[in-house]
Symmetry: C2
Subunit: 596 residues, 2 copies
C-alpha cells in the first residue's frame, strides 16, 4: 500500500482536540458525533487508499495532455472520478438541500486530507468545485442555485476559479477581462485567464467557471470587479446541456509538479463572447471571490498536511528497509536499518511532528468554523468566527511552508535514491512547491494576518489566543511530568515571542508599514508554529490522562514523544523569528532596489 490513511491520529484530534462532541450538539450536526466521524473516515480511507492513491505516480509520469482544445487526463482518472462522485464524496460538507450530506468541516477536513494525500493532482478538481459551491451558496440567485448547485454538489459537474490574468496575479486590481451586459440580463465575456486549475478536462460533463471580470464603466481597481458564472456548456431550461459556450482552453502549462492536474489558459469570447451570468451584484465580485478563496485557502493548507503525511510514510518505509552502517551507540553489531541512526530519527521525527501539529491545528480550526456557522449562541459564533479567521492564514501559510521542509527531508532520508524519479520521493518535493504559491502566496497570507487579522482589532484576537495557550501551560505545569515540563517551557517562550510580535505589528502597521510588513512572513511562521505546538501540547495532556487505561498505550506514548519533540525542536525557532520581526525590520529595506 503506497498510502495508509492516519485514521487513528485524525480521530484522536477530532475527538480530543476539536471536540466533536461539542460540534454534535449544534443544530444540524446531531448525527455528526464520533461514531459518524469514525465510520466516514474508515470508508474514506478505503476509497482513497484503494482507488485514488494508486493513480498518483501514473499521474506524474503520464500527465494531462492538450490537443485541439481538449484535455485528456491521466488514464484512470475518469473512472476514479466517477467512483468519487458515486460515493457522494463531493457533497460531504455541503447542504442536504442540494443533495449533500451536511457533515461538519471537522469531519470533512480529514476526508479532504486523505484525498490529497492519495493524489494531490486528482484532489484539486473537487477542491475547486467546493469553492464554486460556496460562492453560489452565498451569493448566487435562486436561479443560479437551482441550475448549478445540485450538479456541483453531486460532482457531476466541476467548478473552477478564474482570477489570474497574465498581468494580474496577487494583484486583482489589474484584472482586465471584460463583461458586456446584454439586453436579456446575461453578459458576454472577453479576455484571457491563466493558471486555471482543471479549466478543461474530460472527467465531467460540464465545467462551471466562476470568473472575475469588469463590467463597462465599473470603477477602477478591485471595487470594479464582478463575478460571473460561465459554464462550458450552456444549460437548457430542463437542465440538459445546450450549446458549447465561447470559452476555450488554448494550452496547458508544463509544470514542476502536480502534473496530472491540467493548468489551463482559457480564452473567453474569441467567437463573439462567452455567455456569463452575474453572481450577486455588480462590482462585488471580489467579496464573493473571497468566500471561495477562504474555503480554498484552508483546503490548500490541508494539502500541505496531506503531502507531508505521504512523504513521511514513504520515508519511514524506506528507513525501515534500507540497511546502512552501524548504529553509533553500538546497539546493533553489524549494519542496521537506517531508522537506527540518530539523524534519520531526527528527520523522521521532524516530519512527523510538523505533520501532526499542523493536522491538529487544522482540525481545531475546522471545529471553530463549524461553531461559527452552527452554534446557537451568537457570541459563541462571533468568537469562533474570529478564531477561525485568524487560523486561515496560519493553516494555509504555515502548513504549506512546512510541507516544503517535510518533503525535502523526505528526499534526504532516501539519500541518493531520493534524487531518482522512480523512487517517488522527488514527486512529493515537486508537487508541494506550488502550495505556498497558489490561492495566495505566503506573503499574501501574511499580509492578511498583519492587516485584517491583527492590526484591525489592535491584536485582540491574537492576545485572546495567547491567553488560551497560557491556560494550557498551566495545565502542563500541573501535570508535572518531564515531558509536560519540557513542553511548557518552550510553549511559554514561544507565546511570549508571539506577544512581542503582536505588539510590534499592531503598533507599527499604520505608523511604519514597511517595518510591519517586513516581518509579516516571520510573524506568520511564528504564529503557525506556536498554534501547532500548542495543539500538540494539548494532545500531550490528553495522552497522559488516557495512558495506562486502555489498549492504545503505544499510540498515546508516541503522541507524548511527538509533542515533546515538537516543543524541543520546532517551537524553539520562535524566539529567533521574534528577533527578526521586532529587531530586524530596518535591514530588510535598507538596500536600495537598484543595489541588488
Amino acid at each position: 500500500m503506497s498510502y495508509t490513511a492516519p485514521v487513528k491520529d485524525m480521530l484522536f484530534a477530532i475527538e480530543h482536540l476539536a471536540d466533536i462532541a461539542q460540534v454534535a450538539q449544534m443544530p444540524g450536526f446531531e448525527e455528526a458525533g464520533l461514531d459518524t466521524a469514525a465510520a466516514v473516515l474508515e470508508e474514506c480511507a478505503r476509497f482513497n487508499e484503494g482507488v485514488v492513491a494508486p493513480l498518483n505516480v501514473p499521474g506524474d509520469q503520464n500527465p494531462s495532455s492538450w490537443k485541439d482544445g481538449a484535455v485528456s487526463t491521466t488514464p484512470g482518472f475518469r473512472q476514479a472520478y466517477a467512483q468519487f462522485t458515486e460515493g457522494g464524496w463531493q457533497g460531504l460538507q455541503h447542504p442536504t438541500d442540494f443533495g449533500g450530506q451536511g457533515l461538519p468541516k471537522t469531519i470533512g477536513a480529514a476526508c479532504v486530507e486523505m484525498l490529497n494525500s492519495a493524489n494531490l493532482s486528482f484532489a484539486l478538481c473537487p477542491l475547486l468545485t467546493d469553492g464554486a459551491i460556496e460562492a453560489l451558496l452565498t451569493a448566487g440567485s435562486d436561479e443560479l442555485k437551482s441550475t448549478y448547485l445540485e450538479k456541483l454538489v453531486s460532482g457531476e459537474w466541476t467548478g473552477t476559479m478564474n482570477l489570474t490574468e497574465p498581468q494580474a496575479g496577487s494583484d486583482l486590481a489589474l484584472v482586465r477581462t471584460r463583461a458586456d451586459a446584454q439586453p436579456d440580463g446575461t453578459y458576454k465575456l472577453f479576455g484571457t485567464k491563466i493558471f486555471i486549475t482543471y479549466g478543461e478536462h474530460d472527467m465531467a460533463d460540464n465545467i462551471v467557471h466562476l470568473v472575475l471580470a469588469r463590467v463597462a464603466g465599473a470603477p477602477e481597481g478591485v471595487k470594479g470587479i464582478s463575478l460571473f458564472v460561465v459554464p462550458k456548456f450552456l444549460v437548457n431550461e430542463d437542465g440538459s446541456l445546450g450549446a458549447r459556450n465561447d470559452v476555450h482552453c488554448v494550452s496547458i502549462e508544463h509544470k514542476l509538479g502536480i502534473k496530472a492536474s491540467p493548468t489551463a489558459v482559457l480564452q473567453f469570447g474569441d467567437q463573439g463572447g462567452a455567455v456569463g451570468y452575474l453572481v450577486g451584484e455588480e462590482n462585488r465580485g471580489l467579496e464573493y471571490m473571497f468566500i471561495m478563496m477562504n474555503a480554498a485557502r484552508y483546503a490548500v493548507g490541508v494539502q500541505g498536511i496531506a503531502i507531508a503525511e505521504r512523504a513521511y510514510q514513504k520515508a519511514v518505509a524506506y528507513a525501515r528497509e534500507r540497511v546502512q552502517s552501524r548504529p553509533v551507540d553500538g546497539s546493533v553489531r553489524g549494519s542496521a536499518t537506517i531508522i537506527h541512526h540518530p539523524d534519520v530519527r531526527r528527520m523522521l521525527m521532524t516530519m512527523r511532528a510538523l505533520t501532526e501539529g499542523c493536522r491538529a491545528m487544522a482540525l481545531v480550526a475546522a471545529a471553530a468554523y463549524d461553531a461559527a456557522h452552527h452554534h446557537p449562541d451568537e457570541s459563541v459564533r462571533r468568537d469562533n468566527a474570529a478564531f477561525y479567521e485568524f487560523m486561515v492564514p496560519l493553516v494555509k501559510g504555515y502548513s504549506t511552508e512546512m510541507s516544503l521542509e517535510v518533503t525535502s527531508l523526505g528526499v534526504q532520508v532516501h539519500g541518493g535514491m531520493g534524487f531518482i524519479e522512480e523512487t517517488g520521493a522527488a514527486q512529493y518535493y515537486r508537487d508541494a512547491r506550488i502550495l505556498p504559491i497558489y490561492e495566495g502566496t505566503t506573503a499574501i497570507q501574511a499580509n492578511d494576518l498583519v492587516g485584517r487579522k491583527t492590526a484591525r482589532d489592535g491584536g485582540a484576537t491574537a492576545r485572546a489566543i495567547a491567553a488560551q495557550i497560557e491556560k494550557t501551560e498551566a495545565q502542563l505545569a500541573a501535570s508535572g511530568s518531564e515531558a509536560a515540563r519540557a513542553t511548557a517551557a518552550r510553549l511559554t517562550a514561544a507565546r511570549q515571542a508571539f506577544l512581542d510580535v503582536v505588539e510590534f505589528i499592531a503598533g507599527s502597521a499604520k505608523a511604519d508599514p514597511n517595518a510591519a510588513y517586513a516581518g509579516s512572513v516571520p510573524y506568520l511562521m511564528l504564529a503557525g508554529n506556536l498554534v501547532a505546538g500548542w495543539q500538540l501540547a494539548r494532545a500531550l495532556l490528553v495522552a497522559e490522562k488516557l495512558s495506562g487505561q486502555g489498549q492504545d498505550d503505544a499510540f498515546l506514548q508516541a503522541k507524548i514523544a511527538t509533542a515533546r519533540f515538537y516543543a524541543e525542536h520546532i517551537l524553539v525557532r520562535a524566539p529567533g523569528l521574534r528577533d527578526e520581526v521586532v529587531h530586524g525590520a530596518a535591514s530588510v529595506m535598507a538596500l536600495a532596489p537598484e543595489a541588488f
Copy 2:
C-alpha cells in the same frame, strides 16, 4: 545574459577576507596576487557567461541520453568542453609539473563557483576529474602519474569516482566489487557501481575511473578496500589509446535535476574482467578515496553557493520587472515592480546574504587550504590544516543546505510563474536538491564534524575559531556604528550558542553517542551559520573602513547592509539550534523504531 559572474564580490572576499596578499607570499604562489586573481576571474567570467551558461536550460530540456552502452550529452556540451580544455581551465589549481597552472585554491575556488553557476551539470565533469587528479597525485605510482596525469590535467581525459554500489552508499564497508590480482601485477575487476557521475559520456577520448574494490582475502569492512584505476580504454606504452576495457555503462538514471549530467550504472567484468591498476597499497583505498572526497566535498559546497547565486540573480531580475500591487508605504501611487514590496525584499536579502556569507566562508577556507599546503612555517601549516579540516563539513553541509532555502525562495519570488518549468527558477530548485546528498549527505558531514573535527581534539579547534570570532566582535564594538553594534550583538549570541554546543558534543560523543549525534546536523547548521555570519561581519568592518574613500561606495554600503541583514535575520537562528542540540537530544530517540 542569464548569468553575470559576481567578480566584484569575489575579489572583495579574496582581497580582504581571504587575504590573497598573504597567499602570494608563499613559495610557489609569488605570481598569484590580486592582479592575477582579477585577470583570471575576468577571463573566467567571460568564458562561463558566454559559453557555458547558455547551455544550462538546454541541458535540462534535452538531457544526456543512453543508447547501446553509449551516452550522448546535450548538444553543445562537447564543443563547450573542448573550449574548456583549450582554455586550460581544468589545470587551474593543478601542479605545473603536469601542465597545470598551479594557482592557489583561493583563486581557483572562485572559478569553480562561476563554472557551477553557469551550469551545474556541465561543471560536474571537471569536478570529478579534479578528484581523480588529487588521488593520483597523492597516492599514484610514478607510472600511473606519467600515464594519466597530464591528460587529466589538460582535460583531454576525464575522471570519475566509483564508490557507491546498490547496497553500499554512505556505508562503504559494504562494498563488494572484487579485484583479482593477475600475474603481471594488474588486477581484474568484477562488480556493479551505481550513481557514477559522468561514468560514460562523449566529451572526452578516455575516462579514468577510480574504483573501490576488494582484493581476495582482504579484511572485512573498510579496512579491506583498495583503490584502482580502471580506464575506459587501455593506454598503450606510447600513450596512445588501446583496447576497450571491460567496463560498460548499462544505464543512466532519470533524475529530479542536474539532468544533463549522466549518472551511470557501470558494470565491471562482464566480459572476463576489467583491467585495473592498483593505486598506492592494497587495503588503503578508503584513505586515498578520502583525498578525492575531501576535495570534492569542498567543491560541492561551492556548487551550493553557485546555484544560490544564479537563483538570486534570476529572482532579482524578475522582481525588477514584474509589476504587481501598490507598495504598503504608499511610496508609489499605482502598481509597482514587486521589488518594492517588503516581503519580496526580505526574500531577496535572505538569498543574497546567505550566498555572500557562504562565499566568504568558502574563500577564507580556501586560503587556509593554500596556507596548509604552501606556508613555509610548519606550525602555520598545521593550524591552517586544522582550520580547513573544520571548514570542509561546514562548506559542504551548510552551503548545500542553504542552497535549498535559496532556490526555494527563488521559486517563491516568481509566484505562479516560478512553478512553470519554462521560467527556469524551478530548474535551480530541482538541481540543488542533490547537493546535500552526494559526496556525503549532510548527516555524514555532521558526523565528521562531531567525531573527527570536534570530539577528537576535545573541541580545541572549535574553541580556537570562537576565539577568533570574539576578536571580530571586539572590532565591531570599537567601530560603534549602528550596523556594527547590531551585528556584534547577534554574533556574540551565536558564538556563545556555538560554544555551548561544542561543550555538549565534546562531552557526550563517547559517553552518550546517541545524544551527540542526534544534534549533529543542528550543530553543523549552527557552526556554518556562525562562520558565514562572522565572515560577513569582517566584511562589514572592511567596508566601513573603505567607504567614503573611493568610487565603490554603493558596493560597500550594500555589503554593510547585507552583513547586518545576515546578523539580524539569519544569525538569530543560532540560539534555537543550540537549544535543539543541548536540551533536545532525548526526544530524538524517544520513539521506538516500530512506533513510527
